[in-house]
Protein backbone atom coordinates (compact mmCIF):
# COMPACT_ATOMS: atom_id res chain seq x y z
CA UNK A 1 0.00 0.00 0.00
CA UNK A 2 2.52 2.49 -1.07
CA UNK A 3 1.73 5.72 -2.86
CA UNK A 4 2.85 4.13 -6.07
CA UNK A 5 0.15 1.52 -5.77
CA UNK A 6 -2.50 4.15 -5.78
CA UNK A 7 -0.79 6.06 -8.53
CA UNK A 8 -0.61 3.00 -10.72
CA UNK A 9 -4.25 2.24 -10.19
CA UNK A 10 -5.09 5.82 -10.95
CA UNK A 11 -2.94 5.82 -14.06
CA UNK A 12 -4.67 2.68 -15.29
CA UNK A 13 -8.07 4.18 -14.64
CA UNK A 14 -7.07 7.31 -16.46
CA UNK A 15 -5.78 5.40 -19.42
CA UNK A 16 -8.84 3.23 -19.58
CA UNK A 17 -10.96 6.34 -19.47
CA UNK A 18 -9.04 7.78 -22.36
CA UNK A 19 -9.34 4.53 -24.23
CA UNK A 20 -13.08 4.51 -23.71
CA UNK A 21 -13.40 8.06 -24.84
CA UNK A 22 -11.47 7.32 -27.97
CA UNK A 23 -13.09 4.11 -28.99
CA UNK A 24 -16.59 3.66 -27.60
CA UNK A 25 -19.37 3.95 -30.05
CA UNK A 26 -21.94 5.37 -27.73
CA UNK A 27 -22.00 8.82 -26.26
CA UNK A 28 -22.96 7.45 -22.89
CA UNK A 29 -19.99 5.14 -22.92
CA UNK A 30 -17.87 8.17 -23.55
CA UNK A 31 -19.41 9.77 -20.52
CA UNK A 32 -18.44 6.69 -18.54
CA UNK A 33 -14.92 7.08 -19.79
CA UNK A 34 -14.92 10.63 -18.62
CA UNK A 35 -16.12 9.51 -15.24
CA UNK A 36 -13.23 7.09 -15.11
CA UNK A 37 -10.82 9.89 -15.86
CA UNK A 38 -12.27 12.08 -13.18
CA UNK A 39 -12.18 9.21 -10.72
CA UNK A 40 -8.56 8.65 -11.40
CA UNK A 41 -7.87 12.32 -10.74
CA UNK A 42 -9.77 12.20 -7.48
CA UNK A 43 -7.93 9.11 -6.47
CA UNK A 44 -4.69 10.88 -7.17
CA UNK A 45 -5.67 13.82 -5.04
CA UNK A 46 -6.72 11.60 -2.17
CA UNK A 47 -3.56 9.55 -2.38
CA UNK A 48 -1.32 12.59 -2.56
CA UNK A 49 -3.21 14.10 0.32
CA UNK A 50 -2.46 11.02 2.34
CA UNK A 51 1.17 10.65 1.46
CA UNK A 52 2.56 13.96 0.33
CA UNK A 53 1.10 16.42 2.78
CA UNK A 54 1.17 16.54 6.55
CA UNK A 55 -1.51 14.33 8.08
CA UNK A 56 -3.54 17.24 9.31
CA UNK A 57 -3.65 18.79 5.83
CA UNK A 58 -6.59 17.27 4.04
CA UNK A 59 -6.87 19.79 1.25
CA UNK A 60 -6.31 17.04 -1.30
CA UNK A 61 -9.37 15.24 -0.08
CA UNK A 62 -11.41 18.39 -0.27
CA UNK A 63 -10.26 18.96 -3.83
CA UNK A 64 -11.37 15.44 -4.59
CA UNK A 65 -14.78 16.18 -3.12
CA UNK A 66 -15.06 19.21 -5.33
CA UNK A 67 -14.01 17.02 -8.17
CA UNK A 68 -16.91 14.70 -7.50
CA UNK A 69 -19.31 17.61 -7.40
CA UNK A 70 -18.01 18.96 -10.68
CA UNK A 71 -18.25 15.52 -12.21
CA UNK A 72 -21.85 15.36 -11.18
CA UNK A 73 -22.62 18.72 -12.71
CA UNK A 74 -20.84 17.79 -15.85
CA UNK A 75 -22.63 14.50 -16.10
CA UNK A 76 -25.95 16.25 -15.76
CA UNK A 77 -25.24 18.67 -18.55
CA UNK A 78 -23.69 15.96 -20.65
CA UNK A 79 -26.75 13.82 -20.41
CA UNK A 80 -28.98 16.74 -21.20
CA UNK A 81 -26.98 17.37 -24.31
CA UNK A 82 -27.07 13.71 -25.22
CA UNK A 83 -30.82 13.85 -25.00
CA UNK A 84 -30.86 16.88 -27.27
CA UNK A 85 -28.63 15.08 -29.71
CA UNK A 86 -30.82 12.04 -29.60
CA UNK A 87 -33.78 14.21 -30.35
CA UNK A 88 -32.13 15.95 -33.29
CA UNK A 89 -30.13 13.12 -34.79
CA UNK A 90 -31.97 10.01 -33.64
CA UNK A 91 -28.68 8.51 -32.64
CA UNK A 92 -26.09 8.99 -30.01
CA UNK A 93 -23.29 7.35 -31.86
CA UNK A 94 -20.70 10.03 -31.75
CA UNK A 95 -19.42 9.55 -35.26
CA UNK A 96 -22.84 10.04 -36.71
CA UNK A 97 -23.00 13.48 -35.27
CA UNK A 98 -20.76 15.04 -37.88
CA UNK A 99 -22.60 17.60 -39.87
CA UNK A 100 -20.11 20.23 -38.82
CA UNK A 101 -16.75 19.56 -40.31
CA UNK A 102 -14.08 20.71 -42.70
Amino acid sequence: MTLQHYLVISAILFTLGIFAVLTRRNAISILMGIELILNSCNLNFAAFSRFMTPPEDISGQIIAIFGIVLAAAEAAVFLAIILAIYREFGSIRPNEVDTLKG
Binding site: M1, T2, L3, Q4, H5, L7, V8, I9, A11, I12, L13, T15, L16, G17, I18, F19, A20, L22, T23, R24, R25, N26, A27, I28, S29, M32, G33, E35, L36, N39, N42, L43, A46, R50, F51, M52, E56, I58, S59, Q61, I62, A64, I65, F66, I68, V69, L70, A71, A72, A73, A75, A76, V77, L79, A80, I81, L83, R87, I92, R93
Partner: protein
Protein backbone atom coordinates in the same frame (compact mmCIF):
# COMPACT_ATOMS: atom_id res chain seq x y z
CA UNK B 1 6.23 -5.84 2.20
CA UNK B 2 4.52 -8.11 4.58
CA UNK B 3 1.39 -9.71 3.38
CA UNK B 4 -1.41 -9.00 5.79
CA UNK B 5 -5.15 -9.22 5.51
CA UNK B 6 -5.21 -5.51 5.02
CA UNK B 7 -2.96 -5.67 2.05
CA UNK B 8 -4.94 -8.59 0.76
CA UNK B 9 -8.11 -6.61 0.92
CA UNK B 10 -6.32 -3.65 -0.62
CA UNK B 11 -5.21 -5.72 -3.54
CA UNK B 12 -8.68 -7.10 -3.80
CA UNK B 13 -10.11 -3.62 -4.10
CA UNK B 14 -7.42 -2.59 -6.50
CA UNK B 15 -8.05 -5.58 -8.70
CA UNK B 16 -11.76 -5.05 -8.55
CA UNK B 17 -11.41 -1.43 -9.55
CA UNK B 18 -9.10 -2.08 -12.45
CA UNK B 19 -10.86 -5.14 -13.72
CA UNK B 20 -14.29 -3.60 -13.64
CA UNK B 21 -12.95 -0.49 -15.31
CA UNK B 22 -11.57 -2.71 -18.03
CA UNK B 23 -15.00 -4.22 -18.43
CA UNK B 24 -16.51 -0.76 -18.61
CA UNK B 25 -14.40 0.13 -21.60
CA UNK B 26 -14.66 -3.14 -23.42
CA UNK B 27 -18.04 -4.67 -22.85
CA UNK B 28 -20.52 -4.49 -25.70
CA UNK B 29 -23.61 -4.09 -23.65
CA UNK B 30 -23.89 -0.61 -22.34
CA UNK B 31 -25.99 -1.60 -19.37
CA UNK B 32 -23.36 -4.09 -18.38
CA UNK B 33 -20.85 -1.34 -18.74
CA UNK B 34 -22.85 0.84 -16.44
CA UNK B 35 -22.98 -1.86 -13.82
CA UNK B 36 -19.29 -2.45 -14.17
CA UNK B 37 -18.80 1.22 -13.65
CA UNK B 38 -20.66 0.91 -10.41
CA UNK B 39 -18.22 -1.72 -9.28
CA UNK B 40 -15.36 0.53 -10.24
CA UNK B 41 -16.79 3.40 -8.32
CA UNK B 42 -17.25 1.22 -5.31
CA UNK B 43 -13.70 0.04 -5.67
CA UNK B 44 -12.45 3.57 -5.70
CA UNK B 45 -14.52 4.32 -2.66
CA UNK B 46 -12.84 1.40 -0.99
CA UNK B 47 -9.45 2.78 -1.89
CA UNK B 48 -10.50 6.08 -0.35
CA UNK B 49 -11.19 4.20 2.82
CA UNK B 50 -7.71 2.79 2.71
CA UNK B 51 -6.48 6.33 2.36
CA UNK B 52 -8.40 7.20 5.50
CA UNK B 53 -10.61 9.58 3.58
CA UNK B 54 -13.84 8.56 5.12
CA UNK B 55 -15.92 11.52 4.13
CA UNK B 56 -14.61 11.31 0.60
CA UNK B 57 -15.49 7.64 0.41
CA UNK B 58 -18.98 8.38 1.58
CA UNK B 59 -19.39 11.16 -0.93
CA UNK B 60 -18.12 8.89 -3.64
CA UNK B 61 -20.74 6.32 -2.88
CA UNK B 62 -23.58 8.75 -2.44
CA UNK B 63 -22.91 11.13 -5.27
CA UNK B 64 -21.40 8.80 -7.77
CA UNK B 65 -23.14 5.58 -7.25
CA UNK B 66 -26.32 7.09 -6.03
CA UNK B 67 -26.46 10.06 -8.35
CA UNK B 68 -24.34 9.96 -11.41
CA UNK B 69 -24.70 6.30 -12.14
CA UNK B 70 -28.45 6.44 -11.89
CA UNK B 71 -28.38 9.41 -14.18
CA UNK B 72 -26.33 7.47 -16.64
CA UNK B 73 -28.73 4.57 -16.55
CA UNK B 74 -31.58 6.91 -17.20
CA UNK B 75 -29.68 8.27 -20.11
CA UNK B 76 -29.11 4.80 -21.47
CA UNK B 77 -32.74 3.98 -21.22
CA UNK B 78 -33.93 7.17 -22.80
CA UNK B 79 -31.65 7.02 -25.78
CA UNK B 80 -31.18 3.40 -26.65
CA UNK B 81 -33.57 1.05 -28.25
CA UNK B 82 -30.85 -1.58 -28.25
CA UNK B 83 -28.65 -2.01 -25.25
CA UNK B 84 -25.97 -4.07 -26.81
CA UNK B 85 -24.16 -1.62 -28.98
CA UNK B 86 -21.28 -3.65 -30.21
CA UNK B 87 -17.79 -2.33 -29.98
CA UNK B 88 -16.67 -4.68 -32.65
CA UNK B 89 -18.30 -3.08 -35.59
CA UNK B 90 -17.19 -4.46 -38.87
CA UNK B 91 -15.09 -2.20 -41.02
CA UNK B 92 -11.54 -1.09 -41.03
CA UNK B 93 -12.30 2.38 -39.81
CA UNK B 94 -13.66 1.13 -36.53
CA UNK B 95 -10.94 -1.40 -36.20
CA UNK B 96 -8.42 1.26 -36.97
CA UNK B 97 -9.96 3.44 -34.36
CA UNK B 98 -9.68 0.70 -31.80
CA UNK B 99 -6.12 0.06 -32.72
CA UNK B 100 -5.10 3.67 -32.68
CA UNK B 101 -6.97 4.31 -29.46
CA UNK B 102 -5.31 1.32 -27.87
CA UNK B 103 -1.88 2.35 -29.00
CA UNK B 104 -2.21 5.89 -27.84
CA UNK B 105 -3.74 4.87 -24.52
CA UNK B 106 -0.93 2.40 -23.99
CA UNK B 107 1.63 5.04 -24.79
CA UNK B 108 0.02 7.32 -22.31
CA UNK B 109 0.04 4.61 -19.71
CA UNK B 110 3.68 3.91 -20.28
CA UNK B 111 4.46 7.57 -19.84
CA UNK B 112 2.52 7.78 -16.62
CA UNK B 113 4.03 4.62 -15.25
CA UNK B 114 7.48 5.89 -16.11
CA UNK B 115 6.83 9.02 -14.16
CA UNK B 116 5.33 7.18 -11.24
CA UNK B 117 8.20 4.77 -11.10
CA UNK B 118 10.90 7.33 -11.56
CA UNK B 119 9.85 10.14 -9.33
CA UNK B 120 11.98 9.87 -6.17
CA UNK B 121 9.59 11.91 -4.09
CA UNK B 122 6.88 9.35 -4.64
CA UNK B 123 8.95 6.30 -3.98
CA UNK B 124 8.83 4.19 -0.90
CA UNK B 125 6.08 6.07 0.80
CA UNK B 126 4.35 3.31 2.68
CA UNK B 127 1.15 3.74 4.51
CA UNK B 128 2.29 3.29 8.06
CA UNK B 129 -1.23 2.52 9.09
CA UNK B 130 -1.49 5.23 11.72
CA UNK B 131 -5.06 6.02 12.41
CA UNK B 132 -6.00 9.61 11.66
CA UNK B 133 -8.97 11.35 13.18
CA UNK B 134 -12.13 11.38 11.09
CA UNK B 135 -12.09 14.09 8.46
CA UNK B 136 -15.71 15.12 8.29
CA UNK B 137 -15.56 17.82 10.90
CA UNK B 138 -12.38 19.29 9.57
CA UNK B 139 -13.75 19.28 6.10
CA UNK B 140 -16.79 21.14 7.24
CA UNK B 141 -14.59 23.61 9.04
CA UNK B 142 -12.36 24.15 6.01
CA UNK B 143 -15.22 24.55 3.62
CA UNK B 144 -17.36 26.85 5.65
CA UNK B 145 -14.78 28.82 7.49
CA UNK B 146 -11.57 28.18 5.71
CA UNK B 147 -9.94 28.69 2.39
CA UNK B 148 -12.48 26.51 0.63
CA UNK B 149 -15.39 28.81 1.26
CA UNK B 150 -15.03 30.58 -2.04
CA UNK B 151 -14.78 27.39 -4.11
CA UNK B 152 -17.74 26.08 -2.28
CA UNK B 153 -19.80 29.12 -3.10
CA UNK B 154 -18.66 29.14 -6.68
CA UNK B 155 -19.47 25.50 -7.05
CA UNK B 156 -22.92 26.22 -5.81
CA UNK B 157 -23.33 28.75 -8.57
CA UNK B 158 -21.94 26.20 -10.96
CA UNK B 159 -24.42 23.62 -9.88
CA UNK B 160 -27.21 26.11 -10.32
CA UNK B 161 -26.02 26.86 -13.78
CA UNK B 162 -25.80 23.19 -14.59
CA UNK B 163 -29.30 22.73 -13.31
CA UNK B 164 -30.73 25.53 -15.37
CA UNK B 165 -28.73 24.50 -18.36
CA UNK B 166 -29.62 20.85 -18.19
CA UNK B 167 -33.26 21.80 -17.91
CA UNK B 168 -33.01 24.25 -20.78
CA UNK B 169 -31.33 21.90 -23.13
CA UNK B 170 -33.12 18.71 -22.41
CA UNK B 171 -36.60 20.09 -22.52
CA UNK B 172 -38.63 19.63 -25.64
CA UNK B 173 -38.97 22.58 -27.89
CA UNK B 174 -42.28 24.04 -26.94
CA UNK B 175 -42.61 26.66 -29.59
CA UNK B 176 -41.82 24.51 -32.55
Amino acid sequence: MEFTLKTFIFYGFALMTVASALIVVTVRNIVHAAFSLMVTLFGVAGLYVFLQADFLAATQVIVYVGGILVLILFGVMMTSERFDMPIQVKGHIERGQLLLGGVIALALLMLLLTVIANTPAWKNLTDDGTELPPTTERIGELILNGPFLLPFEVVSVLLLVALIGAALISRKEVRD
